[in-house]
């Protein structure tokens, strides 16, 4: 398991991201949409890490940036998860549903 190339990492990342986008766009359940967003975030993390490794292998300066970003994104994702979950719970308390199709009060 010496070295995995950049391409496989990016391919997995793209698949993960596409899955996340599809989930966000198609699922009705707010929790699942929420989880899909996490999926997208982590797809990006994955590509960050992949690029960082690749840069380090090629001796690019500041290749550590990708790792720093990943940690940063995880911190933000954690905060976002806290807020997001709180929102979903409040939503459920108020509307007794987490079906996004029913939440169209802002219709023009």
């Amino acid at each position: 398991m010496d070295q995995v190339g950049l391409f496989p990492v990016l391919a997995v990342s793209a698949v993960l991201f596409a899955t996340g986008v599809a989930g966000v766009l198609t699922r009705r359940n707010a929790l699942i949409v929420f989880m899909s967003v996490e999926l997208m975030l982590n797809a990006v993390n994955l590509s960050f890490v992949g690029f960082a490794r690749d840069f380090a292998a090629r001796g690019v300066q500041n290749a550590i940036d990708g790792h720093v970003f990943t940690v940063f994104v995880m911190a933000v994702a954690a905060a976002e998860a806290a807020v997001g979950l709180a929102l979903v719970i409040l939503l459920f308390r108020n509307r007794v549903t987490v079906d996004l199709d029913e939440l169209d009060r802002l219709k023009g």
């Binding site: 986008v21 966000v24 766009l25 198609t26 949409v33 996004l100 199709d101 939440l103 169209d104 009060r105 802002l106 219709k107 023009g108």
Partner: protein, 696 residues
């Protein structure tokens, strides 16, 4: 000396009164206003003597016009063209400011007495604010050294006139009279502005708004305005004259002046007899160097003047409202002034401005004194015998009367006689078609107008002062005419001061007015009597020109007006006129004193003529039918129904509904579902990525 103080003082007076507002009682408000104008009058006379001193000093020697000037600030500047806000007093303005502030002071003082019975004592301050504002505007008009400054004054006096005519605005008729005056004046002003534009345009690069510079430019290069006698200069002059017909109440725009009598009587005296209405004459005198270039325009001015003089005089003979008679008389006398100016005698016409200011202000104030004493009775049929009750008013009124009919020795005699003679002897129109007969015809018209003047003024005198008092029996008797229901006719229209007295005037006799009212009358009577001395005709002055003509000479020196040197007919014509006037007075005496039943009989016999004159030759009705009606109908049916509703409203509403429609269309995008928005974002991102991928 601070020239600007002269107009600034009345403005200050107006401001102080406006700030004091209702806190100022009648006497306080009047006192402030009068003080401001009296101080301005003192300064004006000082300026006058200063200018007069220069005339004898070094200025006169160089042939330069003696003047005092003050540059206040640069008003507008655009490239090489600039307009200064400057004041300039030359002999012409010097005389005007003395008349305005002098007579203005008298009338302000008189107003304190006149406004005693104003029902709403709380609004007297308003009256004095307007009066002061008027004096300010009028001073600006005559002192301005350029068209724009003059025009500010020109519009200002129109505004004040409107405000004062409609002073008793609770009465709809009065408010309408004010509106009529304003709108009619605007028609004239429009013509004035057009003339100004044309002049400005034709001057091209050397355009200037300053009178002195303008004169230099035009005299240096007459070709700029199409050369003397050309179409351009005639057009410009006629447009300027159009402005003058509005302000100075000449045919065809005179209709507002008789209705302007709705205002308080001091206003009629100050604005609608002595000062504002003469601003047209002043303007023409100021622009004499332009008008002198166009004999055709001068001919039009003279003709309109003579026509107006005669026309208004024929209306005055049947009016029963004392102020209406004086109003038409004013229109008629203004016609004389234009005739004088039109035949080329700027100083002659201007002299009549001066004497007329004296005697007409006097007569209006006298009429005001009567109206005041009779508790707002204006109908002469309810007067009579007032000589006994109001001796001072009678005595002073008599002076004005003798002046206006041209009794030898009185001021009006000299000015009117001079105009008549110069009309007869002018050679200005020689080059025009009918140019040789024209002076004679104009002379005949003017003389006829003078006869009418003598007749209707005598009628006024006899009906008012002779016989016995008819006011006791209230209610109008019967000379077979019904002049009721006309604008601003009614003495009952504003019920001021009637309260305690009740309507029955019979209870007590009329009484002489207090000194605050009679004092100005006496001063003006003296001026009417001796005003002629200001400009004695050459025959009465040892062959020299009178004081005023000599004084004004520098202003008019560049224009040479041709008059016949043959004076053989002067005295015979004068004698003829005097005889005819005497006969006219005699006729009036016979009809209104000896045989008072005759006028009604004559009126019945000449019903057509009588009715025509009584109804002012139906001019108002004709204007109504030919101008106002089409205008109103056109506005309603075309401008309102089509242009406004369909086109303008259509465009506005169309734009609005188009916006609404588009908005509704777009509103469908806003589903309220987060996921559809997210789809948009994703699609957008996809497009960007694709574009990036394809681009490289």
């Amino acid at each position: 000396m601070m020239l600007a103080l002269i107009p600034a003082l009345p403005l200050l007076g107006a401001l102080v009164n406006a700030i004091l507002n209702k806190r100022a009682s009648r006497v306080v408000a009047g006192g402030i206003a009068s003080t401001a104008v009296v101080l301005a009058a003192v300064l004006s006379f000082l300026t006058f003597f200063q200018v007069q001193g220069m005339a004898h000093g070094e200025h006169g020697a160089h042939g330069e016009v003696p003047h005092v000037a003050q540059h206040l600030w640069t008003w507008m500047k655009a490239g090489p063209f600039s307009v200064d806000f400057g004041l300039r007093v030359d002999p012409l303005s010097a005389v005007m400011i003395c008349v305005i502030t002098g007579i203005g002071s008298l009338i302000h003082i008189y107003s304190i007495g006149y406004m005693t019975d104003e029902k709403d004592a709380k609004s007297v301050w308003r009256f004095f604010v307007y009066l002061n504002l008027f004096v300010f505007s009028m001073l600006l008009l005559v002192m301005g050294d350029s068209f724009p400054v003059m025009f500010v004054g020109w519009e200002g006096v129109g505004l004040c006139s409107y405000l004062l005519i409609g002073f008793w605005y609770e009465n709809t008729e009065y408010a309408k009279a004010g509106k009529k005056a304003f709108v009619t004046n605007r028609v004239g002003d429009f013509s004035f502005i057009l003339g100004l534009f044309w002049l400005f345009w034709s001057l091209g690069d050397s355009a200037t708004m300053n009178f002195v510079e303008l004169q230099k430019v035009v005299e240096a290069n007459p070709a700029l305005v199409g050369g003397a006698g050309g179409l351009t200069i005639t057009g410009i002059c006629l447009l300027f004259f159009g402005g003058a017909t509005g302000k100075s109440a000449q045919l065809p725009l005179y209709v507002w002046l008789p209705d302007a009598m709705a205002g308080p009587t001091p206003v009629s005296a100050l604005i609608h007899a002595a000062t504002m209405v003469t601003s047209g004459i002043y303007m023409i005198c100021r622009l004499n160097f332009l008008f002198a270039m166009s004999p055709a325009a001068m001919a039009v001015i003279a003709t309109i003047g003579a026509l107006t003089a005669l026309f208004a005089a024929t209306i005055a003979v049947t009016q029963t409202d004392i102020k209406k008679v004086l109003a038409y008389s004013t229109v008629s006398q203004l016609g004389f002034m234009f005739l004088g100016v039109g035949v080329g005698s700027f100083d002659g016409g201007f002299f009549h401005v001066l004497t007329h200011a004296f005697f007409k202000a006097l007569m209006f104030l006298g009429a005001g004194s009567i109206i005041h004493a009779l508790h707002h009775e204006q109908d002469m049929r309810n007067m009579g015998g007032l000589r006994k009750y109001m001796p001072v008013t009678f005595g002073t009124f008599l002076m004005g009367y003798l002046a206006i009919i041209g009794f030898p020795g009185f001021s009006g005699f000299f000015s009117k006689d001079e105009i008549l003679w110069l009309t007869f002897s002018t050679e200005l129109f020689q080059g025009l078609p009918l140019g040789t007969v024209m002076p004679k015809v104009l002379w005949a018209m003017a003389t006829t107008a003078a006869l009418f003047t003598a007749f209707y003024m005598s009628r006024l005198m006899f009906m008012t002062f002779a016989g016995s008092y008819r006011g006791g029996a209230h209610g109008h008797d019967d000379h077979g005419n019904g002049a009721h229901g006309h604008a601003a006719h009614g003495h009952d229209a504003h019920g001021h001061g009637h309260g305690g007295h009740g309507h029955g005037h019979g209870g007590h006799d009329p009484h002489e007015s207090p000194a605050v009212i009679t004092f100005p009358l006496v001063v003006l009577a003296l001026l009417s009597l001796f005003g002629g001395l200001l400009n004695l005709s050459p025959w009465a002055n040892g062959g020299h020109h009178g004081f005023l003509s000599t004084f004004l000479h520098p202003v008019f020196q560049t224009v040479k007006m041709p008059f016949s040197a043959d004076h053989t007919l002067e005295f015979p014509l004068m004698g003829l006129t005097l005889l005819a006037i005497a006969a006219s007075v005699g006729l009036a005496y016979h009809l209104y004193v000896q045989a008072p039943h005759k006028p009604a009989a004559i009126a019945a016999k000449m019903k057509r003529l009588y009715e025509g004159s009584l109804h002012k030759w139906y001019v108002d009705e004709i204007y109504e039918a030919t101008i106002l009606k089409p205008l109103v109908i056109g506005s309603r049916q075309v401008l309102w129904a089509v242009v406004d509703t369909l086109i303008i409203d259509g465009a506005v509403n169309g734009a609005a509904s188009a916006a609404t429609g588009l908005g509704k269309l777009h509103a469908r995008v806003q589903t309220g579902r987060v996921q559809s928005y997210a789809l948009g974002i994703a699609a957008g991102a996809a497009i960007l990525v694709l574009a990036y991928a394809l681009g490289t």
